[in-house]
């Protein structure tokens, strides 16, 4: 009886969305600690989780300070991705001619490794914020364009006819139909984009910066300060997760019909 009650409450707790991944994380960290112990891995290869936690506690002020430029570069690159990606997606979805010229080149440009371009950006724009923002942009813009094109093209042809039969002008059909129709798709692109923008910012910091989490990563690996390096990785992951979560929050406010559609309340005629 007691065992059964325990199982039920455990399942109820498992229903909280954050609990399952948290549980998995605890298991992974435990396995990590166990593996370091059992296989006797030296600390300069893989530090113990406890060492990482210690490094985080000791250096939290530095880490937090260095997280600021990385976050700013990420946000800058992301904002640029949105500002360029969404209008570009509108153009591609709206015109076959533009699509035939631009889309193949865009896909081609995606196969050029951004990591290889990053040093070039430093040569052009020097050390500092701009090259970081640009690498974040280069990584972040593609998913927005792809999801945007898909979203803008998802308008039902009958809906298009309907709006045209009301003699809607371009702006009206965009505001009343095309944009809201594209929003769910755009938001899924934004979520991918923001995590990639974090990667882009760090890549930018790798090749030419004297601040930011990417810089901390490089310095600590140069000095064999593995716990610091792992702590920096955790910070980096946190930046990504928080930004992702923020976009999901905005999505819930801007696209409420998408979330509410999951709740199946159908009336009968």
């Amino acid at each position: 009886m007691r065992a059964r009650a325990g199982r039920v409450s455990l399942r109820a707790m498992g229903d909280a969305a954050w609990l399952r991944p948290a549980l998995l994380l605890v298991i992974i960290v435990a396995l990590w600690a166990l593996a370091v112990q059992i296989f006797n891995i030296p600390a300069y290869l893989i530090p113990r989780p406890l060492d990482v936690a210690e490094a985080m506690v000791d250096q939290w002020q530095t880490l937090l300070a260095e997280a600021v430029p990385t976050t700013l570069a990420t946000l800058g690159g992301f904002a640029l991705s949105v500002a360029v990606g969404i209008p570009l997606a509108m153009l591609i979805a709206g015109s076959r001619t533009v699509e035939s010229y631009v889309y193949p080149l865009l896909v081609f440009s995606q196969s050029v490794p951004k990591v290889a371009i990053a040093p070039l950006l430093v040569v052009w724009f020097g050390f500092g914020m701009l090259p970081k923002v640009l690498t974040a942009f280069l990584l972040g813009v593609f998913p927005i364009v792809v999801s945007g094109v898909q979203g803008f093209k998802s308008v039902d042809p009958e809906m298009r006819d309907l709006v045209r039969s009301m003699r809607a002008d371009w702006l009206q059909s965009f505001a009343y139909v095309n944009l809201p129709q594209a929003l769910p798709s755009i938001f899924s692109g934004l979520k991918v984009s923001v995590t990639l923008a974090v990667v882009g910012a760090v890549v930018g910091e790798f090749v030419g910066a004297n601040s930011g989490i990417g810089f901390v990563l490089q310095r600590s690996i140069g000095n064999f300060e593995l716990p610091t390096m792992f702590a920096a990785l955790v910070i980096l992951a946190l930046i990504g997760v928080i930004l992702f979560w923020l976009i999901e929050l905005v999505e819930r406010i801007v696209v409420p019909w998408q979330a509410s559609r999951r709740v199946d309340v159908a009336a009968t005629a």
Binding site: D156, E158, D161, S165, M166, Q172, A266, A269
Partner: protein
């Protein structure tokens, strides 16, 4: 406002038009020698071939035909959504070159906007046409009430059943009070019971409002039940094969579908398709 002026302005060109003898009552919709050929990379697809049809004001005309006979093309042409290859369509004597103001359209799918409430969806034509919101809101609410959607105004489309969604779509087509209602297989996606119910409903709307309705369907009983005239179309390229007057008394109820006159007419119309092997 715009609707009223367009009605007054039309009489002139109709009299001066190419039709030599004006009919007793000038047709509201005049279709002359209408042809449509789609040109694609794969070649030319003749879809409609010299279709001529007059629809009088207040008349309910149903068009039946096998799939691919150009029924939907005919409707898009009348709605001014696509240009004709040759021939002419006029509404109130004025040639259709762009979507006319005096027309409401219902498609097979309700195409409601998921982010607008039921009332918001019905009000969409008012917003797009920049009409007086306050005045038309009253009308929209009234339409929803007669459509049995009272209490659902603030709900969202996904909270409604298919039949209710289609009723909301009909309200949307009627909200700006157009003289003509174009319906392209509006009940094709509904289950049989809901469909019959909607047929009765539409007949009531037709009787109460006196709208002119051009109704595309592939259901012969539905066409006979609803229409004053049934236009039979042949497979591609679509031509008018025959036109039947339905002289069954109104209002018609579902019981009538079992009566001899009804069955005989359905059978005769079905004969057209059996002969060319195009149906079932």
């Amino acid at each position: 406002m715009r609707i009223a002026t367009s009605r007054v302005a039309e009489t002139g060109p109709a009299a001066a038009g190419p039709v030599p003898i004006p009919p007793v009552a000038a047709p509201l919709i005049g279709i002359r020698d209408l042809s449509k050929t789609y040109r694609t990379k794969a070649g030319e697809t003749p879809t409609l071939s010299s279709v001529s049809l007059d629809v009088r004001a207040g008349e309910f005309v149903a068009v039946v035909g096998p799939s691919g006979c150009g029924k939907s093309t005919l409707m898009k042409l009348v709605a001014g959504l696509i240009p004709a290859t040759s021939g002419e369509i006029s509404i109130e004597g004025r040639p259709v070159r762009e979507p006319p103001d005096d027309v409401g359209i219902v498609f097979q799918s309700p195409v409601l906007l998921a982010w607008r409430s039921v009332l918001g969806n019905v009000m969409l034509p008012v917003d797009v046409r920049r009409l007086d919101r306050a005045r038309y809101r009253e009308r929209a609410l009234q339409l929803l009430e007669t459509a049995g959607l009272k209490g659902f105004e603030t709900r969202y489309p996904w909270q409604l059943s298919g039949g209710m969604q289609q009723r909301a779509a009909i309200c949307r087509a009627l909200v700006h009070d157009p003289a003509i209602l174009l319906m392209d297989e509006p009940f094709g996606a509904l289950d049989a019971m809901t469909r019959e119910h909607m047929n009765v409903e539409l007949q009531r709307i037709h009787g109460a409002t006196g709208k002119t309705i051009l109704f595309i369907t592939h259901s012969i009983p539905e066409a006979v039940f609803l229409a004053d005239r049934v236009v039979v179309m042949s497979p591609r390229p679509g031509r008018i094969e025959a036109v039947y007057d339905v002289e069954l008394p109104r209002p018609r109820d579902l019981e009538m579908m079992g009566e001899r006159g009804f069955i005989a007419l359905v059978k005769r119309i079905r004969g057209h398709f059996a002969a060319i092997g195009a149906l079932d």
